[in-house]
């Protein structure tokens, strides 16, 4: 995870190696952006410019694709990115309350990162674990059947 949220030369080299390893560059913009976000953690303008040059696609088009898809982000995420599932099953089982509690506990809005860079807060549409609704994720760990009261304790694990 050496590159996450950092724009380093070595990270660009890693991305270039990946692009060079592709069979074809035609139609691979989204594939490359996935890799870039995996390496850098987000897609700042420097990375967009790099991808634009390497794939020979206008920067406007690269940005157009990034802004279209919700998976891509141009702001750095926190050390522990939190996502609350707002799929229908989670919604009817009270995921809004969990989101409210998280906003209150962290003092940030959806899409923001705490000042110490520890947590960022996002919503997503359905992780497909509807049986465990409501669901939230911290990093890659999934928490199921969460209640608003539990939020504080869950956050403690990461502080």
């Amino acid at each position: 995870m050496k590159c996450t949220n950092q724009v380093k030369d070595s990270c660009f080299r890693e991305l270039k190696d990946f692009i060079d390893s592709l069979e074809t560059k035609k139609g691979e913009l989204i594939t490359v952006l996935h890799k870039a976000q995996e390496i850098f953690g987000y897609l700042p303008v420097e990375v967009q410019e790099f991808v634009s040059e390497e794939l020979n696609i206008p920067l406007s088009e690269v940005y157009g694709v990034i802004s279209f898809y919700s998976f891509f982000t141009t702001t750095p995420k926190g050390e522990h990115p939190i996502s609350v599932c707002m799929g229908t099953a989670c919604y009817v089982n009270g995921s809004e309350k969990i989101l409210d509690e998280l906003k209150r506990e962290l003092g940030i809005k959806v899409g923001e990162t705490t000042q110490d860079g520890k947590f960022s807060l996002d919503v997503l549409r359905c992780v497909g674990a509807c049986g465990m609704a409501p669901v939230m994720l911290i990093g890659k760990k999934t928490y199921g059947r969460v209640t608003a009261d539990e939020v504080k304790n869950i956050l403690k694990e990461y502080k």
Partner: protein, 598 residues
Amino acid sequence: MLKTIEDLKQIKNKFLEKNNEKIQIKVSMATCGITAGADSIYEYFKDEIDRINNNKIVLISTGCMGLCHSEPTIEVTLPGQKPEIYGNVDVKKAENIFKDILYKKVKESDIIISSKQKKIVLRNCGFMDPENIDDAISKDAYFALNKVLTNMSQEEVINEIKKSGLRGRGGGGFPTGLKWEFAYKNKANKKYVVCNADEGDPGAFMDRSVLEGDPHSVLEAMAICGYAIGSDEGIIYIRAEYPLAIERLKIAIKQAEDYGLLGENIFGTNFKFKITLKYGAGAFVCGEETALIHSMEGKRGEPTLKPPFPAEAGYWEKPTNVNNVETYANITAIINKGSDWFRSIGTEKSPGTKVFALAGKVKNVGLIEVPMGTTLRDVIFDIGGGIVGNKAFKAVQTGGPSGGCLTKNELDTPIDFDTLKEQGSMMGSGGMIVMDENDCMVAVAKFYLGFTVDESCGKCTPCRIGNKRLYEILEKITDGKGTLNDLDLLKDLSNTIKRASLCGLGKTAPNPVLSTLDKFYDEYEAHVKDKKCPATVCTNLIKFTITDKCIGCTMCAKVCPTDAILGRVKEKHYIYQERCIKCGSCYNACRFNAIKKA
């Protein structure tokens, strides 16, 4: 490299022989199972088996059995006995089960699966190791591929699928055989087979379960489709949000390639076929065929007008067949057992089964598969076990954001593609969200509209602007500022958006509004006329007050985040309405039922 059917049979027999005399413990390790702690149960069994060093016990990590309500679940099979399934397994329960296993006597299943279910698509999910191709072959994987390559012409395959009456399970319900025929008839030097594994519907997760639990069934079906339409390349377009499904697909593709079941000269014939993955990046509209294809080409996932259909000009303008995961998962069963067998299940116009993701306020939340034509009552009250907390059933939402609500008047409707449409809803991908008396239908409509507003690609005006305006009117109503006029406006605007939008997303976006307006008009009226939310959901329309039951325990005041509650110990408390943000913390904290929500 496998060359003949004999090679397949050999692997199957060897696998069965090896495992039939062993004790098998299967732990459901799909995303939902892992969320519930299945990984620690798996670790426990692994450590125990290592400790006693018993090579007669095999531990298998499987996909999802569909029993979300009882995760983590395990299945235990003693040699020569029927499998037993246990739910809600924690380490303590696992210890007891393991002791029983060692004494070769396991207790009867504590989970009962309703006899109203019939599994075709999910036949192997939860019952095999998705990372072991031999296990898949032992369950007849790749026998259908062998059959079509060695015994059937392209036309025969297409005819068999046509005769089966299989309709696309992605939601549209278009006849699959016909779709294949179009792609077959369009001559080109290159054709593509695409699997739509984007599954963007909130509240639906059947595709994830199939990919996590039985990936080979999809790979095999894609190869069969490739043979039928004359294509040598398959692409699975899968959500990046499904990391486990991606990992298992990669493993399955590698194993199939190693066995020569994908690649050049499959089963010694001239047929070659390869499968690669492309990742989605979070856009609901990409479930629409043309948008999906644009996304695969690395562009914004904006739909284009049909015709041309993908069967004429799809991926890189070449003839392309797009089916979703569940549709493909039916194919091998149809080839192996015949179209007559498939037609004998379900209804005349919608043969076969349908997988539903049953969620919301129902007791047995999970993934179920029933013959088409099963009634909603059977699904919700028999298989689903009824409503949580024995509250009153209010509605069931089917078809996701493009669908509508069905009420208790429609509980006896036999579900298939056409009946759901007649009732003002639709099949969609099979999400089924059950709602009880505590759900506000206006808020639900607003929730779905919020989703479509977020997910509209913005290309056409009715969808981009119309849905935003619909959302704003709904917001006005739930805020208590709506008028009766707004209700007429909702209807008018909805119909215009439906008529004028370019693609399926826009054409169906107003459905949740129209369907709730139609069936729950009184609830809308209560919001605009009486400024009340009967289900006490819309925060601006509810008020918390403290009744005489209050004994002054101070609990509510302690949890109130805005210090809106005042009162001395052992005296009745009071809520300052101006300060109250209606979070409901006090209501949840009160142990004496002293707080009234109205």
